[in-house]
């Protein structure tokens, strides 16, 4: 490998590292000087396949590496350390909510909705270790997630109201300059933020900001407001990386069949009954 290539690689690593550091340190990066490809309507073109590269799905807060939960899986199931994606100090849980989080943690091996292949909700869908695709057309935006084939349709027209609570919420989007802002309401209280039991209520209100900072990176922020669970709003942020493989495509991970034994196994007919 020539010196030039090494340099490019080092630069890429440094950029990535700085983006990650920025994510948890700079409080707000709402706009960017970057001007990338545009849609015919003149908005940033976010079409593509994206994925977070962090350990937030394990734990959105800073955490040490830790042993796995299933002995047979050894190192494979162990939790990698992470600097966290939450800006500021510990999550501002209300006292009862903090107790609930601890209970969730104790029960995480059976209670995490991810185990059962339930739709992950927002923002967890954005940083599960699976890619998702943004289909940004002239009529609106569709986000398709590989995990559980979860889907969000983003209404880019006049804001509308959900007729009821759902797993993936109700998304109204708008452009703030070159930033895509999505207001997510009407999520139910069944989804978690991560595998250690961080959770929310049905009062959850998420405001997401997608700031394109290069052709390969969207800086993603989610501001969480949930007065039933937290004493104040808080924010998480992270870069989302574009899949640049020439043959990149979203594949099916219809995980229901992988969770059936867990969910229904006890109801299976015993052989020779």
């Amino acid at each position: 490998m020539g010196m030039n290539r090494l340099l490019v690689l080092a630069l890429a690593v440094a950029l990535t590292a700085s983006a990650q550091t920025q994510s948890s340190q700079s409080p707000s990066q709402s706009q960017s000087a970057y001007r990338g490809p545009r849609t015919p309507g003149g908005k940033p073109d976010l079409n593509g396949i994206w994925q977070a590269m962090n350990t937030a799905n394990w734990d959105i807060q800073a955490h040490s590496a830790a042993p796995g939960r299933i002995v047979a899986l050894g190192a494979q199931d162990a939790m990698p350390a992470g600097l966290g994606v939450v800006e500021g100090g510990p999550l501002p849980y209300l006292p009862e909510a903090l107790a609930k989080k601890k209970e969730n943690f104790e029960n995480r091996l059976t209670a995490d909705p991810e185990l059962k292949c339930f739709m992950p909700g927002v923002p967890r869908a954005m940083y599960q270790p699976f890619p998702f695709q943004i289909v940004q057309s002239t009529t609106g935006i569709l986000m398709v997630y590989e995990f559980a084939e979860a889907v969000r349709t983003i209404n880019m027209g006049k804001p509308t109201q959900s007729p009821g609570d759902t797993w993936m919420g109700w998304s109204n989007g708008r452009w703030d300059g070159d930033t895509l802002v999505i207001d997510v309401t009407s999520q139910n209280d069944q989804t978690w933020f991560d595998r250690v039991g961080d959770f929310h209520s049905d009062a959850l209100h998420v405001v997401e900001r997608f700031v394109p900072v290069s052709s390969g990176i969207i800086q993603y922020e989610a501001t969480i407001t949930d007065p039933k669970t937290f004493s104040r709003p808080w924010k998480m942020s992270m870069p989302l990386y574009r899949h640049v493989e020439k043959n990149a495509q979203l594949l099916e991970f219809k995980c229901v069949e992988f969770a059936e034994e867990l969910v229904y196994g006890s109801l299976r007919r015993k052989s020779e009954q």
Binding site: L142, Q249, E252
Partner: protein, 378 residues
């Protein structure tokens, strides 16, 4: 718990959840009884005049709407709900007369309801008295009043969705035998475990998503998004999304088998042509539903070619050809003019609320326990 109480329990859960036991309205499972079709008219030799899709629009000087890159714009909400059956009724001609179509539209849905209710032993839509479950596995489900086939026959005036001289699925003799064996297998193993139930009950795949995209008993709505490189087709049930790649790339590795296969599209003039391969063998014979473990067809060689053409302000002409050597004696084709609709899609959390699966399995286990206890007493 008796079968009947299981049936009621399951039916209640299904209504609440929306998961459904109703088998796909396809002759693959109910052969040679295309329901709701106009009786063939022998007394009316007059050649039927097909109603060409788009006639109305064209008359108004309609032109194909286009996306900014100049391609026909397929976006929006569409439905393929119809009372026209998949297979042509025995004796019917390829095209129906206006009178036959009117009769079909008047009777279609009610015929479907009556037939379905009788087949499954569910209470008729007009009565609240439950009949004894007569379905092959003794488990009933909600009656056909919940069905929504639309009110219209296909506006192409065809007597069936399937085109061609026979209008029937060209099953090989082996497939016919296999389908009969499957029905016996289902009867013997109605609820041994989740994989013994239909894919749609398991929330694994919905019928309409295809390919081919065929209508079923309800929720026949599609939402299409289109960019220069991707066409995404979303259906509400089981939040299935087909992602069709238009970038000219080759199919992905055949080692990757998917429920909806691997779809690549290209434009031939103003028609979007989509070719799909690498469909898994867990699906049913035609759409996503129907396949139960151990009795699904081998889809290794299945290929579906679809053509989407905007023909009017409110119409996409959808045409398809299915090839699956070994399952069929040859390719078979069909066409459906899909109509614009203003029915929006919402989230359909199928698996997350699938209490019906729990109830079906636990009910079956309770029945077995009761039967075993009865034996002991004797």
């Amino acid at each position: 718990m008796t079968s009947q109480s299981v049936a009621r329990l399951a039916a209640g859960a299904f209504v609440a959840v929306g998961v459904c036991l109703v088998p796909l309205r396809l002759p693959a499972q109910a052969p040679a009884q295309a329901p709701g079709a106009a009786a063939p008219s022998t007394a009316r030799p007059a050649a039927p005049k097909p109603r060409p899709a788009g006639e109305k629009g064209a008359a108004r000087g309609w032109t194909v709407p286009r996306t900014p890159d100049g391609k026909p714009d397929l976006q929006g909400l569409w439905t393929n709900a119809t009372v026209t059956p998949l297979e042509r009724p025995d004796g019917a001609k390829e095209f129906a007369t206006a009178e036959e179509l009117a009769a079909l539209e008047k009777r279609g849905n009610r015929d479907e309801q009556a037939k379905a209710d009788a087949e499954r032993g569910t209470p008729a839509a007009s009565t609240e008295t439950p009949a004894a479950p007569a379905r092959r596995n003794g488990i009933g489900d909600y009656n056909a009043i919940w069905w929504e086939l639309g009110k219209k026959a296909l506006e192409n005036s065809r007597s069936s969705i399937i085109t061609g001289p026979s209008g029937k699925l060209p099953h090989t003799p082996e497939t016919v035998q296999r389908l009969a064996a499957n029905r016996e297998y289902e009867r013997l193993h109605p609820a041994d475990g989740p994989e013994f139930r239909d894919n749609i009950e398991r929330c694994l795949a919905w019928i309409t998503s295809g390919p081919p995209m065929l209508p079923t008993f309800y929720n026949n709505t599609y939402k299409i998004y289109q960019t220069p490189k991707t066409v995404a087709i979303l259906v509400e049930m089981i939040h299935d999304v087909r992602l069709i790649h238009l970038d000219g790339s080759a199919h992905s590795s055949p080692a990757v088998r998917q429920w909806m296969g691997d779809s690549r599209g290209h434009w031939e003039g103003d028609t979007l042509v989509v070719e799909t391969v690498n469909i898994n063998s867990k699906r049913g014979y035609i759409g996503g539903g129907g396949g139960r473990s151990g009795i699904a067809p081998n889809n290794d060689k299945m290929k579906v070619t679809e053509r989407f053409t905007r023909t009017a302000a409110d119409t996409i002409m959808y045409q398809f050809t299915v090839e699956n050597p070994g399952i069929y004696t040859g390719p078979w084709s069909g066409e459906i003019p899909m109509k614009a609709t203003d029915e929006p899609l919402y989230e359909y959390a199928c698996h997350e609320g699938n209490y019906a699966m729990h109830d079906i399995l636990s009910g079956a286990r309770a029945d077995e326990a009761a039967a075993a206890k009865g034996k002991e007493k004797k």
